[in-house]
Symmetry: C2
Subunit: 555 residues, 2 copies
């Protein structure tokens, strides 16, 4: 059965790999969808046949199933007309650097690439996952430049978490009123406390903070080596017993956390998916570093780190334990705004006007910080490019020019030349060394400053949605009197709504205070590290130049 | 009497100064040539009337005189047809940065701007000088950017000294044979000795080396302030008595030295003439620095510093002494190749083949060094631009981004924020300070490296001509037998020619050794200075960053 497909993103074939170069918007004919490993075989209009990543073309799993069932002709044409781009768009992994993916403006007006980690409905069964991109066997070469790519790859335009409110199972119809008006009360053991501390409302923090180490990425394979993947070892400090997870398991965890806590707690995206170069050492190292950062941030959060699903991920005993835990987590009904039913602030109810004012303040602050963080990323990225590109080239040219002069001087035939020429050569070599120092430095300092800001960019991108839920609740509570008058709710309902809004506000405040305290810690740490490395850098150069200076004869 | 003139270079009128903007190639009508101060009044085709610098238009003094005498109509048209551009081209000062002047390839293929300091025949009387550009009253603004202009202005494309051999009074017909075959022998007191020292033939150096200080530039004026100029104070270490000179006096000295010694000794050009901005502090400072460099180099040369004309320039007692000395110098007949008649090498005659081999070696070396020096100038110029342009801007942006983040953090409303925000602000300010350090640094180190290389570029540009005289002599001596056979010279003439070629070779060798010893000294000194300042620069930055680092709280 051959069917047509639209190409979503440009794809450049790797020579000698049976791949087919396709362009965004091109229509291709699928000649074999049973290739596996994330690839399909397709034919272009010129009759050329080759492999194309499944994610790069508009293929809907659902449509494929329908297609299999109906055997009808060309269901794609109708499907392609879907103005939203169809559900398969969510699955389309957008490779970094191509910039050809469909873009969407985030809630703060920043155009971002499609968000591959957005909520995608209930997870498929394990067996079905095998065809996902993460298992894809690929020998594609990692094409980005080693230096700058470190930053540009992935997170530089990591998009914000987009909670499409009506995708929350318990939120599909009525927004926050589902919680504001619900009768259901969570069982005692799941209660999440909020205290009023020195800085205001704060979560209840565990006595010992969980942390974990993500390490030892190993290439695994199954189906007799036909499918391969990377598995990471995660060792929590609580059990000190390592568990193994593939990226898709992290992705599953992310989806569960977003589903369960996303209305109250910003859940930052995972590092981006990537189709090409997944097995390249450089990429694996970077992904591991970012998964480590993501896991550490999750561990630091008292609510997330204490949740069953997170504990399952960190401490499952065996395959059976993991599968059972997974199913249980997927059946959890305290998701979406219902998470607020589990929260118990140990403080007096807040006045709605105070709630609104706090909300406004957080909204302003997170927007301002988002702008500021993006400014740092922009400036940092430019600086990165300069430090790894033109600047070392210039120092190299200075070094070469001095050495050339030395060579010319050596040819003078004049006596007593060597003291100067030796010193000139040494000075030239010093500038070549400086060139290398300059080029390598960003990895030692700017990298971490960029990664931290990139993490914060991702985190801040989640706030508009979290704050959006809050604002919707404020609006609903404001309508209270009108709803009572219209007999839509009772007066006790109205009182309960106000009380629940207060709970939501305490939650938001606790979350903001958690954010602030982490932020202060993180920026203090990364700035210290940055400046320390910068000092070392300039001191090293000064020492090298001092040595070069010493080679010239004093006159 | 109105006559037409062609505009040689673009000239932009200074508003409110009665000036007229003209474009290269435009034809204007001279309405008043009696303005003085280097200006003429002219009318363009649109009927606009204003002042234009005399040097910018094709006006020949000779033609003017002819015109005055004949009162004929339009002698310009015929004169303008002169493909060489006419003699007045030598007088046309080519302002920096306009790039519109007629350019000529130098002997090494580098296209350079017209050379305003080229030999221009016997100097006019003092009174006639008053109309020269140096007296021009101008309030034109110095338009080049202050930073990079320091290097680009003037010497960056200083052209090489061009000795048009047939312009030497004593050389007009027959090249070096004038010396090779001359009967004349210089008087004993003018003898210039060459000894064979450790490094080979060397000039006889004076016991105490002359040096002088060029300082204290003062704006002078005459004709009741109608004409103004800059006068420099030159104090030689021999008399310690300052004398005053204007740029045009330096130019006169340069012409005399070129005339007298140019066949044997490379006489580097003076810093370029400049029409606009001559009274700007920045320009005056730069010109003074370069005049100082030029004078010091002349002082260091044993032949030049010992010459009557140079001594006159440094030590004239009064106006009368100066004028008498000038006239005497202008009447000096030991010029051009005749300088070799005064040279007495105290060594055995050299074989012509050895002479040729030495000549070849010097030619190769000076060419190679010229290339290398130009490479350093190119690289240095790019580095200068980066250090004064994009790089500090980037540091400034980093500084601003950190300070912005600090401002945002301050607005958080979270307690205990100030330790971080103070430190962030300090770090941001540090990067702004670094921006300034980076931008200012080239003036402290690269400037001197560039100036030295620029001086050497000028000096090396003189060698092809000096070596050219030498090669012509070698060729002439090779023809010796043929000339004897043709009865053009006698056998004793042939023997004398060979002996005199040996003298020329000793001169060239002494000159090269002088060059080498100066070169080693100069590059040693400038590299030491450069590296010393570079070390200070990097150490200062490291210290500043260390201080910024200390502001962050240790966790």
């Amino acid at each position: 059965v051959c069917s047509q497909a639209q190409v979503l993103y440009d794809f450049a074939a790797e020579p000698g790999n049976n791949e087919l170069t396709v362009r965004e918007g091109e229509t291709i004919t699928i000649t074999n969808k049973g290739i596996g490993g994330g690839w399909i075989e397709a034919q272009n209009s010129r009759g050329e046949v080759g492999l194309v990543p499944e994610d790069y073309i508009e293929v809907s799993q659902k449509e494929l199933i329908m297609k299999r069932a109906s055997n009808g002709n060309d269901p794609w044409s109708a499907w392609n007309a879907d103005p939203s781009g169809g559900t398969s768009n969510n699955w389309a992994s957008n490779p970094e650097g191509t910039q050809t993916g469909k873009s969407a403006a985030d809630p703060w007006g920043n155009v971002s690439q499609g968000h591959p980690q957005a909520y995608q409905g209930p997870a498929a069964e394990d067996d079905e996952w095998d065809d996902e991109w993460d298992d894809m066997k690929s020998s594609a070469v990692y094409t980005e430049s080693g230096e700058a790519g470190g930053i540009q790859r992935g997170g530089m335009h990591a998009s914000s978490m987009k909670i499409s409110l009506n995708k929350f199972p318990g939120f599909s119809k009525s927004g926050p009123e589902l919680y504001l008006l619900c009768k259901q009360i969570a069982k005692g053991k799941d209660k999440l406390s909020i205290y009023v501390g020195e800085v205001g409302p704060v979560w209840s923090y565990p006595e010992t903070q969980i942390d974990c180490i993500v390490a030892d990425p190993k290439k695994g394979s199954k189906m007799y080596g036909l499918k391969s993947y990377i598995e990471y070892q995660i060792t929590p400090n609580t059990t000190n017993r390592p568990v193994n997870h593939r990226y898709k398991h992290f992705d599953w965890l992310y989806e569960r956390l977003l589903d369960k806590f996303g209305s109250a707690i910003p859940i930052p995206s995972l590092p981006d998916k990537q189709v090409t170069g997944r097995f390249e050492e450089e990429f694996i190292k970077m992904r591991m570093e970012r998964l480590q950062g993501w896991m550490s941030r999750m561990c630091r959060h008292p609510v997330i780190s204490g949740s069953d699903v997170f504990q399952l991920f960190l401490t499952y005993k065996d395959e059976k334990d993991w599968k059972m835990g997974k199913r249980k987590a997927e059946k959890d009904e305290t998701v979406g705004v219902m998470i607020f039913t589990t929260i118990e602030p140990e403080a007096a109810d807040l006045d709605p006007s105070e709630v609104e004012q706090k909300c406004e303040q957080f909204s302003k602050f997170t927007k301002a910080m988002d702008d500021s963080v993006k400014e740092i990323l922009t400036v940092g990225n430019e600086h990165w490019k300069r430090c790894t590109g033109p600047l070392p080239k210039e120092y190299q040219r200075i070094g070469k020019a001095l050495q050339n002069l030395s060579t010319v001087f050596t040819s003078s035939g004049y006596q007593g030349e060597s003291a100067l020429t030796d010193a000139l050569t040494a000075a030239g070599k010093t500038y070549e060394e400086i060139a290398q120092l300059v080029a390598e430095q960003p990895r030692k300092d700017l990298h971490f400053l960029m990664e931290t800001n990139n993490e914060y960019k991702g985190l801040l991108g989640c706030f508009p949605d979290t704050i959006g839920v809050h604002k919707a609740a404020i609006d609903k509570v404001k309508e209270g009197d009108k709803l009572v008058a219209a007999n839509k709710i009772t007066t006790p309902d109205k009182v309960a709504m106000s009380k629940r809004l207060s709970t939501m506000s305490y939650t938001l405040q606790a979350e903001m205070n958690h954010f602030h305290s982490n932020r202060i810690y993180d920026y203090n740490r990364v700035m210290q590290q940055y400046l320390e490395e910068q000092v070392k850098f300039y001191e090293t150069i000064a020492a090298k130049l001092k040595q070069a200076h010493g080679q010239f004869t004093t006159m």
